[in-house]
Amino acid sequence: MSGPKLVQEVREVVASRELLVNFVRRELRSKYKGTFLGWAWSLINPLATTLIYTAVFAVVMRVQPPVGVDGLTNYALFLLCGLLPWNFLAVAVQGGQTVLLDNGNLIKKTYFPRRLLLLSHIGAGFVTFLVEMGVLVVVFAFFGVNALPWIPLLLVIMVLFAAFGLGLALALSVANVYFRDVAHFVGLFMQIWFYATPIVYPLALVQGLGGGTGRWNGIPLADLATLNPAVAFIEPIRDMFYDGTFPEPRYLLAAVGWALLTLLVGNLVFRRLEPRLAEEL
C-alpha cells in the first residue's frame, strides 16, 4: 500500500512547486531582513567558527591536519570541508524540527501539502550550502587547488545529504508537535554527534587509536565511525576537495543507503502523524 501513497505524495508536492519556491524565497528573504550586513552574515558565520576552531584545535591543541593534495597542509581548509556540510545538517535538523510549530497558524487556517514547509526549509538551507561550497571552491583555487572537476560528484553528494536531512526533519518535526521534549533532546544529541564525527579532527586519528586497531578501551571506535551516517557524506567531500582523490566507494554506497532509508522512514513517520496536525498544534 505504501507505493501508490508515495506516488500520490510526490505528485502533490510536484503540483505545488510554485508554492515551494515561494516558501523558499520567504525563508531566504526574511532570514536577514532588518540586518545591516544582510547576506554577508551567511559567510561571516562560517568564517568566524572556522577562526575559532582553528585557534583552539590547530593553534592551542596542535591537531595536525593530514597532508592533502599537492602537499597541502592547512587546518582551516581541512576543517571547512567538514564544517560546511555539518552546518547544513545542523540547520536542516534543528531548524526543521520546529518548522511545523512555527507555522502553526498557517496549518490551522489554510491547506497546502504540509511537506512543503519541511522541503522549503531544507531548500533554503541548501541554497546557503551551495553558496558556501561555491565560495569554498574559490578559496581552494586561491591556495592553488583546482576543485572544479569534482563539482558534479559534489552536487550528487549534496543532494543525497539534503535527502538525509529532509528525512530526519520530517520525522522530528511531527514528533515535536506531540512531544516538545524532542527539541531539547535533539539539541543535546547534535552536540554529541558533532564531536563524534571527524570534523574538527581527521578520521585517521581515530583509526590510529590503540596502535592502529582503532580501539579505545576495547571499544571499536573506528568501526563505529563508519556506521556514523554523517561520515558517509562528509568524508567523500573531504576526499575530493582536500585529498584530491576519488571518494571511497563504500562511503558513497553508504551515503545512498542512508539517504534513501532516512527519507523513506521520515516520510512514513510524517504520513502517520500528519492528519491530526491542525488539531494538535
Binding site: 487556517k109 491547506y111 512531544f179
Partner: protein
C-alpha cells in the same frame, strides 16, 4: 457528478480533549504511556451534496460542528471516517491574512498568499493590480506588513482570497471586514461570484443574512445533519427550534424593583404568534420589595440573534412610583412594526436622573413568531409601509 461541487460522504470527525496532556517525555513515562483524553465526535455521519453554482449555508448553535465541517471541506482537518470529494479549486476564508509573513512587504505577501491559495505566479501577475486596488493599498504595497494597521492587514488578506477566483469559496463569518465602503465592495464581489455561477459555502450565526444569501441550507446539531433544504424553510425551522426552547429569562441587575414578566396580548388573550401588522398589547409585570419612586419602564425589541430593532419608553406617563407589591403596566401598539420572523422582547426598568440607571432588565422576556400570509412584500426586518400616489 458535474452538478455537485462538493460531495461529503459519511464524514465523521473525532476530537480529543486532553485532561493532562503529555507534552513532555517525562510526563508520558510517569503516567505510563498514553495521555488521558476523552474523545468526542464533532461530526457524525455527515452526508451532504453541495450543488454546483449555489450558495450553501451551514447553520447550528455553537459546537454543532459547522466550523469543523467547513475545515474538513477546506482539507485543513482530515475526517476519521468518510471522505470529502471536491470538484474544483477551493479557497477558504477562515482567517484573513493567515499566511502573511510580517517582515515581508505587502507585494511579497500577495504572491506568497496567492500561491498558498493555489495561484501560479503568472495568475497573480495578472491579478496583482486588481488585488491591490481592491484592498486600497496602492501606496503601502512595498511596506512590510508588520507596519500595517489591523484593518489594512485584513483588507489585503480578503482581497487576495477573493481575487483568487476559486470555483468554490468557503466563508466563516468573515464578511464584516473593514470600513463601510470596503464592506459594500466585498458584498458586491460576493454577488458577482454568485452571478458567475461559483459555489459559496457560508457558516454564519446571522440567520437573516443566511436567509438572504443562501439557496440551500444544512442545519447541524451536535455533529449530525438535522435538516437540509431550501434556505427559507430550514432557517425557519432552525429559528423555531431555538424559540421553542427559550433560554431562561435572565435578570441582569437584581434590585428592589424587578421585572417579572412580559406578556403579549391580542384581544386580551396571551399569544406567541402574531400576524404581520396586527395590533397588540404588551403587559409588563413588576415586583417591588418597597415603594420606589422616579422610575421609567421600557420595552426593547430584538432579532433572534440579538440585534436591537427598537425601544418604547414610558416617558409619557411621567415618573412612576412602584410598590410595594406586584403590578403590571400595558403598552399598546397600534400595528406590529416588523416583517415576518422571530423576535425577542426585553423588559427594562430604569431610574430617572442624570445619568439614567438601569435597575433591572428581564432579557428574553418574551418571544414572538410573526407570520405573514405569503412571503411577498415581507422581505427584510421592518414594514416600510407608507402611502403611494
Amino acid at each position: 457528478m458535474a452538478d455537485v461541487a462538493i460531495n461529503v460522504e459519511d464524514v465523521s470527525k473525532r476530537f480529543r480533549i486532553y485532561h493532562e496532556r503529555n507534552q513532555s517525555v517525562k510526563s508520558a513515562v510517569m503516567r505510563r504511556g498514553r495521555a488521558r483524553f476523552e474523545e468526542f465526535w464533532a461530526l457524525r455521519d455527515v452526508d451532504l451534496e453541495i450543488p454546483y453554482g449555489k450558495t450553501y449555508g451551514l447553520v447550528g448553535h455553537n459546537g454543532s460542528g459547522k466550523s469543523t465541517l467547513l475545515k474538513c471541506l477546506a482539507r485543513i482537518l482530515v475526517p476519521d471516517k468518510g471522505r470529502v470529494v471536491a470538484n474544483g479549486r477551493i479557497s477558504a476564508l477562515l482567517e484573513l491574512g493567515a499566511g502573511f509573513h510580517p517582515e515581508l512587504s505587502g507585494r511579497d505577501n500577495v504572491y506568497l498568499n496567492g500561491s498558498i491559495l493555489g495561484l501560479s505566479r503568472r495568475d497573480i501577475d495578472a491579478r496583482f493590480d486588481d488585488i491591490v486596488e481592491f484592498a486600497g493599498l496602492e501606496q503601502f504595497i512595498d511596506t512590510p506588513v508588520k507596519n500595517y494597521s489591523s484593518g489594512m492587514y485584513v483588507r489585503l488578506g480578503f482581497s487576495v482570497a477573493i481575487n483568487v477566483e476559486p470555483d468554490i469559496l468557503l466563508v466563516d463569518e468573515v464578511l464584516a471586514v473593514g470600513d463601510e465602503a470596503f464592506q459594500r465592495r466585498s458584498a458586491a464581489k460576493f454577488d458577482q461570484f454568485r452571478d458567475e455561477g461559483r459555489t459559496i459555502v457560508v457558516v454564519s450565526h446571522a440567520l437573516g443574512s443566511v436567509r438572504n444569501m443562501c439557496d440551500e441550507v444544512a442545519w447541524l446539531d451536535h455533529g449530525r445533519v438535522l435538516e437540509v433544504g431550501p434556505a427559507d424553510a430550514v432557517v425557519g425551522k432552525y429559528a423555531d427550534a431555538t424559540t421553542q426552547t427559550p433560554t431562561e429569562p435572565a435578570h441582569v441587575h437584581p434590585s428592589d424593583v424587578r421585572m417579572t414578566g412580559l406578556t403579549a396580548l391580542v384581544d386580551g388573550r396571551p399569544v406567541q404568534e402574531l400576524a404581520v401588522g396586527s395590533p397588540i398589547d404588551l403587559r409588563l409585570e413588576w415586583q417591588a420589595d418597597r415603594a420606589v419612586a422616579g422610575l421609567l419602564l421600557a420595552v426593547q425589541l430584538r432579532t433572534s440573534d440579538g440585534m436591537l430593532i427598537g425601544t418604547a419608553r414610558s416617558d409619557a406617563l411621567g415618573p412612576l412610583t412602584l410598590g410595594p407589591g406586584t403590578g403590571a403596566v400595558d403598552l399598546h401598539l397600534e400595528s406590529w412594526p416588523t416583517a415576518a420572523g422571530t423576535y425577542v422582547l426585553d423588559a427594562v426598568v430604569l431610574e430617572q436622573g442624570e445619568p439614567e440607571r438601569e435597575l433591572d432588565r428581564l432579557s428574553d422576556a418574551a418571544r414572538l413568531a410573526v407570520v405573514a400570509e405569503g412571503a411577498r412584500g415581507h422581505e427584510g426586518l421592518i414594514l416600510l409601509g407608507g402611502s403611494w400616489s
